[in-house]
Symmetry: C2
Subunit: 80 residues, 2 copies
């Protein structure tokens, strides 16, 4: 079984209201000093075969991320 | 600047309809052999000081994750 993780994050120049909401909430639980919070998505994909680099790019760029507003990184964790 | 990443994923025994939707969509872009997709959240936190382990646990368990249905992992990436 091959495992791949794809992290999808809002691009740096894109406003991230979810991250901002988390940042504001930190004050309410008494954690200060946080200058930025960004919230994105994490996909853990298990496959019965090794997915090719081309397949992973297609999968990440067409299905998992909206590349207009999001960046992605593909991490092949290998055989489980 | 200290950076911390918190990954939040649905627990293994919890149904993950978002992940299942991605898995079904894979067929439509011609990627076969995927046996499981889980979708979670990824938080990237930048702080002006080093957050203590206790603060990070509080932050992750009370604010970022719903620990009834989600697991979290805290990754301290250190100084940027």
């Amino acid at each position: 079984m091959a495992r791949v993780v794809v992290n999808v994050m809002p691009k740096a120049e894109i406003l991230d209201p979810q991250g901002q909401a988390v940042q504001r909430a930190l004050g309410r639980i008494g954690v200060d000093g946080v200058s930025d919070v960004r919230q994105g998505k994490r996909f853990v994909i298990d496959a019965q075969r090794e997915l090719s680099a081309a397949e992973l790019e297609e999968l990440a760029s067409k299905l998992l991320a909206n590349t207009v507003i999001e960046d992605y990184e593909i991490i092949v964790e290998g055989q489980q």
